[in-house]
Amino acid sequence: MNRATVIFFGAFFALTLSWAGLLLSNVRSYGVLAPYFDDTENKAYPSQVPGLAARGAQVYADLGCAYCHTQQVRGGEPSADLARKWGGRESYGRDYIREERVLLGDLRVGPDLRNFGVRAPAAAELYLHLYSPTTVVPGSTMPAHRFLFATRQIAGQPSPFALDRAKVAVPAGSEVVPTERAQVLVAYLMGLHDGYDYPEEKQKNTPPKKAGEKKPETHTPEAPKK
């Protein structure tokens, strides 16, 4: 019986140590990263997530977009993220501090979306992409999200958001319009952009100035000194 007690406390101690070491210490240091206030722009970064986009983030989570799309731009040697123009710089921990749920993603079936807002097409095209991915990107394996759209009779003026009739099959006299969930999702996607480069992180992660130049070893910023 004594042995069992030893094992019980041993396991408890080991797990608590890993919790304190990995989680608690990061909560105390990295988890208190604050927005950076830029005096010249008179604005704090990362900026507050607008309400519409915040609701879009919930749709993003409930549809499970993060199983195929990461939201983390990586620098360093074995990564081509910057060359792919998935972002102007690698992602820093500070970029995420305003997000209610951080979904970095752990598999790249589709492209990274961290800075999708920069390369996003017009909303009409993005709706079409969600409705019928292969129409926009031939060979795409992204699932069609037709359930985010409603087909309805045109009454009076056609909706300005209706999908292009030339590109999707719509019965005569009807139109395909995005539902509210599609609208907030698109608002969220188009707002994805880490545009600001924080001085502290920038200094530690100087991007390569010319091709072939080796980057510093550190991939991530360290916790700020308090």
Partner: protein, 488 residues
């Protein structure tokens, strides 16, 4: 029953199938039956998800079956439905038997099991209905988690109670591993839920919490349960004690000390502190030390007992496979924690590594345990040995096919992603791997259907019962080998 008792050798101090089995019979049967239902549900959901990856038009108009929902639903059905139910059932049976406990209150266990299953059902339906949290391995809506934790605590407390009130003076190595699994899982889970959903931590610390949980779930629940089974069944089946048993203690402690830290290696290259990633790498590499010791224990016993036994025993084949996959899984994690891992971490190779633990290590070991314990529990032999063999072939073939396809496809994907190959080409190049994985998934489903059919036939089919009542209990069930249980 009387025929069975008469055949017992009176000289045997502890029968192969005895009072300890009788005390847990109904709870174990209940948990196993529910786990097998979840196994089937999980396999079907996983197959749908696998098909969608290469044929996105399949069932595309059902919102609740979109890939981003059906994949986590499959994962959760598999992990919490099949994994925890079956793990608890095996833990219960092993602990009662090794502690020689006849603890009352089995009815309470069934109630706990029923609530657990209700909670998982709500959780999986919640995911399909759009309440998923999207955090890998923790997708179930957090509202059901308290219910699940209470149900789990009831069941786990009973298992620990069996240990306390048992009459066995020794604590066998299987019991150490069970204790760790039973205790670590709720600790990890409650903490992760609290830090992610009830009082969310800030920024990418959430990703660290999620990685800590996911790796802990795999390495401190699924793997220990499987190791408990291996440490029990290998000597049992081979009639030899564990080789180098004195080292088992070192293997155990070193593993427990490192496993909690290794999760950080899942975040190699992610926007989290570099020291955290480094800690994960160090822990993943340090795990190779206990891996070596445990491999000496397991494979030493296996070789000592003679490989010929593998041809004789279906159970041994399952358990042997699980031991092989255990070595493979930790080697893969160690490899992925090294420099090149930054690219591999975001590929199918990484996903396949988790499946090696979930299916290769855990499920194979549990299949073996179920084939071993069921006849002792219901006191009848399996009606068809050929079906056990068919299940083994399907599971091994399907899993190796899917695993190899995803691993090789994943390595290629990782290389192309980091070389800057146009994304459409990367997608096109992973298609063959994903199609092979679907074929593998289909074979696995067939194997699971065979398993379920056979289980129902043995446990509930009246004709098998009648036939078994007429025939004498097979001699294999009556073999006594108490000295093996206390092989310390």
């Amino acid at each position: 029953m009387s025929a069975y008792q008469q055949q017992l050798s009176p000289a045997a101090p502890v029968a192969e199938s005895g009072p300890a089995d009788a005390a847990v019979r109904w709870p174990v049967l209940f948990l196993l039956a529910s786990s097998i239902l979840w196994l089937l549900a999980g396999s079907v959901l996983a197959l749908i998800a696998a098909i969608k990856l290469h044929t996105p038009g399949f069932l595309a108009d059902c919102e609740f079956l979109t890939y981003g929902r059906v994949h986590p639903a499959a994962l959760n059905a598999f992990a919490y439905g099949w994994g925890v139910n079956a793990g608890l059932a095996v833990a219960l049976w092993l602990m009662a038997r090794l502690s020689r406990a006849t603890l009352p209150g089995g009815g309470l266990l069934i109630v706990a099991g029923a609530f657990w299953n209700l909670g998982v059902k709500l959780g999986v339906l919640g995911i399909l209905a759009g309440w998923s949290t999207s955090v890998p391995w923790l997708e179930m809506p957090h509202q059901v988690v308290p219910l699940l934790l209470v149900a789990y605590a009831l069941a786990a407390a009973w298992v620990v109670g069996a240990l306390r009130h048992g009459s066995s003076p020794r604590l066998y190595v299987s019991q150490w591993w069970l204790l760790v699994a039973l205790f670590s899982f709720p600790w990890l889970w409650a903490t992760a839920e609290a830090m992610l959903f009830f009082g969310p931590v800030r920024g990418t610390v959430q990703a660290i919490v999620a990685a800590w949980f996911a790796h802990g779930f795999l390495l401190l629940w699924f793997t220990p349960v499987a190791l408990a089974i291996m440490y029990y069944l290998l000597p049992k089946l081979l009639g030899k004690p564990i080789r180098a048993y004195h080292l088992a203690s070192f293997g155990f402690w070193a593993y427990v000390a490192c496993a909690g830290w290794a999760g950080a290696s899942r975040l190699l290259g992610a926007p989290v502190p570099a020291w955290t990633q480094a800690a994960g790498t160090v822990a993943s590499l340090m795990l190779l030390a206990p891996l070596g010791v445990i491999a000496v224990n397991l494979f030493g016993t296996l070789f000592n007992g003679g490989m010929a036994a593998l041809a004789r025993s279906n159970v041994l084949r399952f358990v042997g496979m699980a031991a092989l996959f255990f070595v493979l899984a930790l080697l893969r994690y160690a490899m992925m924690s090294l420099g090149a891992g930054t690219a591999i971490q975001l590929s199918w190779f990484a996903a396949a590594s988790d499946y090696v633990v979930l299916y290769g290590v855990f499920s194979f070991a549990v299949f073996g345990a179920v084939y071993y314990l069921m006849p002792r529990l219901v006191r009848r032999a399996w009606p068809y040995a050929s079906l056990i063999h068919a299940h083994f072939v399907c599971s091994a073939l399907g899993f190796i096919l899917a695993g190899v396809a995803l691993s090789l496809g994943g390595l290629k994907q990782a290389a192309e992603l980091s070389r800057g190959v146009p994304f459409a080409e990367v997608t096109a190049h992973t298609m063959p791997a994903l199609q092979l994985a679907t074929v593998g998934g289909l074979i696995l489903l067939v194997g699971h259907l065979v398993f379920a059919f056979h289980f129902v036939k043995l446990a509930f089919c009246p004709c098998v019962r009648a036939r078994a009542a007429a025939a004498p209990v097979p001699a294999e069930l009556l073999r006594t080998a108490p000295e093996l249980e206390a092989a310390s």
